[in-house]
């Protein structure tokens, strides 16, 4: 059915070069595309798997790595027990395997240095992945842009990129991490232990030197709806809020 990658095909082979478990349910995979590309922070790739009988499954995954990271792209994949692509990655995929990939894709949920700041990022669970690319891009590219990241996870052990985010927070160079755990007490004095709400957003905005120029919200539909309502409740204009929903 599929002729596989050809000069005309937007699909290309990409080799898995590294695998690292991030949390009990989330694992990062690094892909080296056969035709390397430069992405924008917040963009995604489509990944396609092909069974021997020609059956194909494709899914979109956000890129976690910064555009300037080089050495392939990092994609953090959450295991969905009833999924058909994520169980393959968690149970079968190994370093050296090749999958097919298309991208980079997406032209709205992106942040570039020229978009300016301050920026307010709000992520729920694996919704932090495209926001991580923005945080890393800002750190490598222009630390003068103030960024606050509100990251909601169920428990401390499900905080994806936790060590890296806390390290960046500790630098006190204009990046602020606000963690909120919905099923455990807060671990750090400045963190929360409840679902996102307008008061939390007001306090996150107070950590920025001035009102955000753009706000990015990513996660499940329920999370994005609640977080966008909380932002609007905190006085953030709807027109500066960009959302990305996982569709579930």
């Amino acid at each position: 059915m599929s002729a596989g990658p050809s000069p005309q095909s937007p699909w290309q082979a990409a080799k898995i070069t590294r695998i690292e478990k991030r949390t009990p349910r989330v694992t990062s995979f690094w892909f080296q595309p056969s035709r390397p590309f430069t992405h924008l922070a917040g963009q995604h790739v489509d990944i396609r798997l092909t069974a021997p009988d020609g059956y194909q499954a494709r899914r979109s995954y956000s890129i976690a790595s910064a555009p300037e990271a080089g050495a392939g792209i990092e994609v953090a994949i959450e295991r969905l027990d009833d999924g058909e692509v994520s169980p393959f990655f968690h149970d079968v995929a190994a370093v050296g395997d090749e999958i097919e990939l298309r991208g980079p894709l997406g032209g709205h949920f992106i942040w570039e240095e020229s978009d300016g700041g301050p920026i307010l990022l709000v992520g729920g669970g694996s919704g932090v992945v495209p926001l991580m690319a923005m945080v890393r891009h800002r750190t490598l590219r222009n630390k003068a842009v103030p960024v606050a990241l509100v990251f909601s996870a169920r428990v401390w052990d499900e905080v994806i990129f936790r060590d890296e985010l806390i390290d960046l927070d500790d630098r006190r160079d204009g990046f602020d991490l606000v963690l909120t755990l919905t099923r455990e007490p807060a671990r750090r004095p400045s963190d929360y232990s409840r679902r996102v709400d307008p008061r939390m957003m007001v306090q996150a905005i107070e950590r920025l030197p001035k009102a955000p120029r753009l706000a990015y919200v990513c996660g499940s539909n329920a999370f994005v709806s609640a977080a966008a309502e909380a932002l609007i409740g905190a006085g953030v204009p709807a027109r500066i809020i960009r959302t990305e929903r996982y569709g579930v």
Binding site: L49, F88, D97, R245, V248
Partner: protein, 203 residues
């Protein structure tokens, strides 16, 4: 390219696979996707305007629009994020009946659908008429939920579902095929699921 170790997958039942376009999978739920916050629109704040370029041709308020003849369409829908949902039941006003109420023939070959939140998407006029599309007011017999585009959304079920603009508030006839929100951001100008026209680089 066969992927090592990938066998399982969710193959569609063989009696339905002719209804699933290439690269799509069958979804039982109704996922929500949108570029920004969900607008909360009260019916009394809602209106629908037909325009030719910047010039309004006719405008309806909620009550006037609901008084137009209503039709039902039950269709399979296909989202560019790869899910397909069978037999979605809608009720609303066919674009043909909107044009008839305005007393006009389509003045141009291209149309931009416009939404309250600033969203837009382009659809050739011929894909909106002759019973192909409606402004939907009900889903499964009930008012459309806000996150699915309520109180009213465009329904163009034969194209990828981003063309079925949520929170629609008008149709603007244009001289040229002008890209809308996603079409300016890398998505296909036409979006036929059966030709897998997802992104601008697709033929």
């Amino acid at each position: 390219m066969v992927t090592r170790g990938f066998f399982s997958g969710r193959r569609p039942p063989s009696d339905t696979d002719t209804r699933i376009p290439p690269g799509q999978y069958l979804e039982q739920g109704f996922p929500v996707l949108s570029a920004g916050p969900t607008p909360r629109l009260r019916p009394e704040d809602w209106s629908f305007t037909l325009k030719q370029g910047p010039k309004p041709l006719k405008k309806w308020n909620w009550a006037e629009f609901n008084a137009l003849p209503q039709s039902k369409m039950t269709r399979d829908i296909h989202c560019v994020t790869a899910w397909t949902k069978f037999n979605t039941p809608w009720q609303g006003v066919m674009i043909d009946d909107i044009l008839a109420d305005a007393g006009i023939e389509p003045p141009t070959a291209y149309t931009l659908a416009l939404s309250f939140d600033g969203y837009s998407t382009n659809v050739p006029t011929r894909d909106l008429v002759s019973g192909k599309a409606m402004v939907a007011l009900l889903y499964e017999g009930k008012p459309i939920a806000p996150d699915h585009g309520g109180p009213a959304r465009l329904l163009v079920p034969h194209l990828y579902f981003w063309k079925s603009a949520k929170w629609v508030n008008g149709l603007q006839f244009t001289e040229r095929d002008e890209p809308g929100f996603w079409e300016l951001r890398g998505y296909h100008m036409y979006g036929d699921p059966w030709r897998e026209q997802r992104y601008s680089s697709d033929p």
